[in-house]
């Protein structure tokens, strides 16, 4: 299940690749975590994104959460809470494209595209064809 905005197309791409390489069709979905965030009162109103569960729901299944950048871990904390309100998966794993460090919670990814050591003052932006017209990771 992809976490919007950029986790959602990443999840779909991963599912396509899995189907291509192993022939296994993996159902995908999106999970908006905005309503579960602990930092809503630290910024302007955040628009909500769509949540759509994979066909058949998530009960007793292995759910892989997909996001673009793993940073403080707070988004994943929110995602775990959101997931709990939608059902009871057999297990939950995490896949991220970039792990930039600076965790604030005891959370780690099961699958990492690339570990990128960063300083807190830097900004990691993942560009995706679906949103930005090209793929790439930009460190500023």
């Amino acid at each position: 299940m992809g976490i919007p905005s950029r986790g959602a197309p990443l999840a779909r791409r991963l599912a396509l690749k899995i189907a291509e390489f192993s022939g296994v069709e993996v159902p995908t979905g999106t999970l908006d975590v905005t309503l579960y965030r602990d930092d809503l009162r630290r910024g302007p109103t955040r628009p909500l994104e769509t949540t759509s569960l994979p066909e058949g729901g998530i009960d007793d299944r292995l759910v892989v959460l997909v996001d673009d950048v793993l940073f403080s871990g707070r988004t994943i904390r929110a995602a775990l809470d959101a997931l709990r309100d939608h059902g009871r998966p057999r297990a939950v794993q995490l896949a991220v494209l970039v792990d930039r460090g600076h965790r604030e919670l005891p959370i780690r990814a099961d699958y990492v595209g690339k570990n990128v050591p960063t300083s807190r003052s830097e900004d990691v932006a993942v560009l995706l064809d679906e949103f930005d017209g090209r793929d790439g990771v930009v460190l500023k």
Binding site: L35, Y36, L40, R41, T45, R46, P47, T51, D85
Partner: protein, 310 residues
């Protein structure tokens, strides 16, 4: 957004983002066993009602509870208001007791605006849930949400609002909101039930319901507000019903896709025939259902962001 006091002055982008939030909330809660979001945990919402209400108060209460806010209901009858406490003192008491948001309904036009002024220092948000004959913004927003859901869009749609325009706060809120969203609004009412100054509203005015029906995408019926009428606005209830009531014959004059809205409470047989109210063309229960999600969206936009100075 700090307060929601009127739809007058609400710009299209803000209105659309509230409607989008309501849509997303509706989808997020669809088919869920646990209809509870942690978003407003620890926030206190007080409804302060000086007038009777079923759907507005209940849907605000449900909206708050589904987002985990603590919701406390205060009605004028069972509070110190009946001992003679003023609106200002009651409001300051609620703010001092820790209210983050006060949802107020009051028979005096402008009450919510005054309240927002008095509570500015406390930082409490105010939602107008109906003030006299002035505005009822969440009703207009949920009407727009229902229209968007049924018709796909509001822009360019022709919508008639029929009935007691003079006494209706729902009309004033709807006229401003629908105009901001780009709809084409026609008010249909006997001349006695139109307010002075209606010529300056962004609407057209008609006295003939039958002539308007074939071109409509939606018709919104208003309750004839007997409690605010102290004079002969029309000869008799029966005559009003014959000239402006929506019956099955009139429903047939409207296009197939056109929907019927009513903010409730309905007077069946007066402004709306029972068969019309129960027909699939009527979106009246959808309005109530959308009302909960829309009010959740309003609370989200008022309470789930950093403090701003009003």
């Amino acid at each position: 957004m700090k307060h929601l006091l009127s739809t007058e002055g609400l710009d299209r982008a803000t209105a659309t983002s509230i409607l989008d939030t309501a849509d997303n909330l509706k989808r997020a809660l669809l088919g869920r066993e646990v209809r509870k979001l942690p978003t407003l945990r620890g926030r206190t919402v007080i409804t302060l009602f000086y007038e009777n209400s079923t759907r507005t108060r209940v849907s605000f209460e449900i909206a708050g509870k589904w987002m985990s806010a603590d919701v406390i209901n205060v009605s004028a009858g069972g509070s110190s208001v009946s001992k003679g406490e003023s609106l200002r003192d009651t409001a300051l008491t609620l703010a001092a007791a820790g209210a983050d948001c006060v949802i107020v309904r009051h028979p005096a036009s402008g009450a919510a605006h005054r309240l927002a002024g008095w509570l500015a220092e406390a930082g409490t948000s105010v939602v107008n849930a109906g003030d006299g004959m002035h505005e009822h913004p969440t009703q207009a927003l949920l009407d727009a949400a229902t229209l968007r859901e049924r018709l796909g869009s509001v822009e360019g749609r022709r919508i008639a609002i029929v009935g007691d325009v003079l006494h209706s706060r729902v009309v004033r809120s709807n006229v401003h909101l629908l105009a901001a969203l780009g709809a084409d609004v026609v008010l249909v009412a006997p001349p006695t039930l139109l307010p002075v100054g209606v010529a300056n509203w962004p609407v057209t005015v008609s006295h003939e319901l039958d002539a308007e029906l074939p071109s409509l995408d939606a018709v919104m019926l208003l309750r004839v507000q007997a409690e605010r009428m102290h004079g002969g606005f029309f000869p008799s209830a029966r005559e009003y019903s014959i000239a402006y009531g929506l019956n099955e014959n009139r429903l047939r004059l409207m296009p197939e896709h056109a929907v019927v809205l009513h903010p409730g409470p309905m007077l069946r047989g007066m402004e709306i025939a029972s068969a019309v109210a129960d027909s699939p063309r009527a979106a009246i229960t959808d309005q109530v259902r959308n009302g909960v999600h829309l009010r959740m969206a309003v609370l989200y936009h008022l309470l789930a962001h950093e403090e701003e100075t009003s």
